[in-house]
């Protein structure tokens, strides 16, 4: 999967952001990336993410799937550039994500986290405008462009009517949309989501993922979603990275990753997998006897 030519590229970020050589179809390329978490070097590591590789194109949705403590969030942090891989490389358009300066990184990579805590109340539109921070000088006031982009972002997630509401006075589902809108306002190449459907009811989950799929197609984002929702993954992902205890067990289309034996072993639960008419796998869980 990995192309040696690109692996030899200098990893320093080029501020001009020119696209270097390499396959122009591939936007995100994770090449034998690994990570070890140890509180101090003399102790045995608490957690190890073994080397893994995958690639993603513009418009593609990649799901990182696995049970708790499988390394999903660590992998997402690596992809976001917040953590530096112990070995291997993670390239966004050929540039190592960890070596971007903070501003450049925020212009290309947006992260939607599980919860966005606020110290002081703010309006929805103020929150969405935060996504424009990386695109302006620090003392500049928001331009007409910034405001238009923020409005469009709210419209794209169907939350225009919330613009003047307070962030702490809207529902969980609405909040999740607004957080997504802020990420869209960053106009990123890569959109990362950490369990975005965790606090949503089923209707809101389907709603949210429908708009995510539409946005990925319209704006050509490469989307990486961390989740443990089997059926939503099967329905919405183009590619699945299956993790268990820090090991990558399989990478591929949902239909190839969703094998009964494999999933039963990973999730420690009896289940069955069937294919729907659309070619998407569907998982049914059974109670432990």
């Amino acid at each position: 999967m990995s192309t040696p030519l690109r692996a030899q590229m200098p990893s320093a970020a080029n501020p001009s952001g020119e696209q270097p050589r390499g396959n122009p179809d591939v936007r995100l390329s994770v090449e034998q990336a690994s990570y070890v978490y140890a509180p101090n070097p003399s102790q045995a590591p608490l957690f190890t993410l073994e080397a893994l590789s995958f690639q993603a194109k513009p418009g593609e949705i990649v799901a990182i799937l696995g049970p708790n403590a499988s390394g999903k969030s660590t992998l997402l942090q690596l992809v976001s550039g917040a953590l530096e891989p112990l070995s291997g490389h993670i390239f966004l358009n050929g540039f190592s994500t960890h070596s971007f300066p903070p501003k450049t990184r925020a212009q290309r990579i947006a992260l939607v986290q599980q919860e966005s805590r606020l110290l002081f109340p703010s309006r929805v539109w103020e929150f969405v405008l935060q996504g424009r921070h990386a695109h302006g000088r620090s003392l500049r006031f928001e331009s007409e462009d910034d405001i238009t982009i923020a409005k469009n972002a709210l419209a794209q997630v169907g939350a225009s009517h919330l613009a003047d509401r307070w962030m702490d006075k809207i529902s969980g589902g609405e909040k999740q949309r607004v957080i997504l809108a802020r990420a869209l306002a960053q106009q990123p190449l890569l959109l990362l989501l950490d369990e975005p459907t965790l606090h949503l009811d089923i209707g809101a989950q389907v709603d949210f993922l429908d708009s995510l799929r539409r946005l990925a197609a319209e704006n050509r984002y490469t989307v990486v979603v961390v989740t443990h929702e089997l059926n939503l993954t099967g329905e919405y992902a183009d590619q699945v990275v299956l993790l268990q205890k820090g090991k990558c067990l399989r990478v591929g289309a949902p239909a190839s990753v969703f094998q009964r034996d494999l999933l039963e072993q990973v999730f420690q639960a009896p289940l069955s997998v069937e294919m729907t008419s659309s070619g998407r796998p569907r998982v049914t869980l059974f109670a432990n006897k």
């Binding site: 917040a82 990184r105 966005s116 921070h133 910034d146 960053q186």
Partner: protein
């Protein structure tokens, strides 16, 4: 959607500046000796129009030599403390943080007292000594905030309760150090404990000192203001701010240092005045919202207004005796602190 514009920023600051002016005029008038401001204004205009060479002596003595310097001192100290408080609240993500509560003011006071003792012992030239006190106060403030920050960190995250407790314990320890330094023979001839622990504005500063304070304030506050929109994002947490493009380590160190300078400047000339840095940013946030591009300048103006009012009350309620201004701010600030704490826990 109504994002902040330069015009709206100036309008709000302008309104507060007018209020500050009115407060200053009233403060000039009030005191043990009543003066007619109308008469003073008429005299001032005559001087400006060169109809007379000097204003009449009783105005000159009381208003311009005694009250005005003290009011200007109140303005710069109030603005410094309140900008420092706003900065600490954003960086530490804690609405109850301020230089006094966190012990930073006490740290600055220890630094200032050590400098004064050193100056006496080494009989330094007054020019050098004048710089050494604020410098040592800044170092004391910076060391204290670093210590409190480390005390409040747990597993890489700042824990609100631990941070406040750490600050309060640090303050009480440093206050004991202050008492010790003031009791040893070398510190015996310095200003008393009430000055350092409660703060007061009764030292009449000369023009040079006032100029130094205002320039120092403008530089340090200006540096903090360049990070105003970074501070907005830091309210959501350091990790989230980083993902939105904030260079968190740089902003953190720049703002800590600048806020320590502001605290050091204020404490070296007025002792540890409490609650201004806590109360004022809160009230301003309630009125103007939490956008630091607006909040920082209005907090500076609000801090100046609050401290001038507090000091005017301090020197008039028991006239002709002076109350330390810190006693006034604590009487107003402590109940508010408790109210905010209760509301936060509820």
């Amino acid at each position: 959607m109504r994002p902040l514009t330069l015009g709206r920023l100036f309008l709000r600051c302008g309104i507060l500046a007018v209020i500050l002016f009115v407060v200053v005029v009233i403060a000039l008038k009030m005191g043990a000796v009543q003066v007619s401001l109308y008469g003073l204004g008429r005299d001032l205009i005559r001087v400006m129009l060169r109809q007379s060479s000097a204003i009449s002596t009783d105005y000159g003595m009381i208003v311009l030599d005694i009250r005005l310097p003290r009011i200007l001192l109140g303005i710069v100290v109030g603005a410094s403390l309140s900008v420092a408080g706003t900065s600490f609240q954003a960086l530490l993500r804690n609405p109850l943080a301020d230089p006094y509560v966190l012990g930073v003011s006490s740290g600055a006071a220890v630094g200032a007292i050590l400098a004064l003792i050193l100056e006496n012992q080494l009989s330094l030239s007054p020019q050098f000594a004048g710089l050494l006190t604020p410098l040592c106060a800044f170092v004391g403030a910076a060391i204290t905030i670093a210590a409190v920050y480390l005390l409040g960190r747990r597993e890489g995250q700042i824990d609100s309760g631990t941070l406040l407790l750490g600050g309060i314990i640090t303050a009480s320890f440093l206050n004991a150090v202050i008492m010790f330094l003031l009791t040893v023979p070398a510190g015996g001839n310095l200003r008393g404990a009430v000055y350092w622990l409660m703060g007061d504005l009764s030292t009449i500063p000369d023009v040079k000192l006032l100029g130094f304070l205002f320039v120092g304030f403008l530089i340090a506050a200006g540096v903090i203001y360049t990070t105003a929109s970074d501070l907005n994002l830091l309210l959501a947490g350091e990790k989230e701010a980083m993902h939105l493009g904030v260079d968190v380590p740089r902003v953190r160190i720049v703002v800590y240092l600048a806020a320590s300078i502001l605290t050091g400047l204020a404490v070296s000339v007025s002792g540890a005045i409490g609650y201004v840095g806590l109360l004022v940013p809160h009230v301003m946030r309630l009125i103007f919202g939490s956008d630091h591009r607006l909040l920082l300048p209005v907090s500076a103006l609000g801090g100046a207004i609050a401290l001038v009012i507090a000091d005017t009350l301090a020197r008039t309620v028991l006239a002709p005796s002076d109350l330390p201004v810190g006693a006034m701010t604590a009487m107003a600030g402590a109940p508010l602190f408790i109210y905010l704490l209760r509301r936060k826990l509820a």
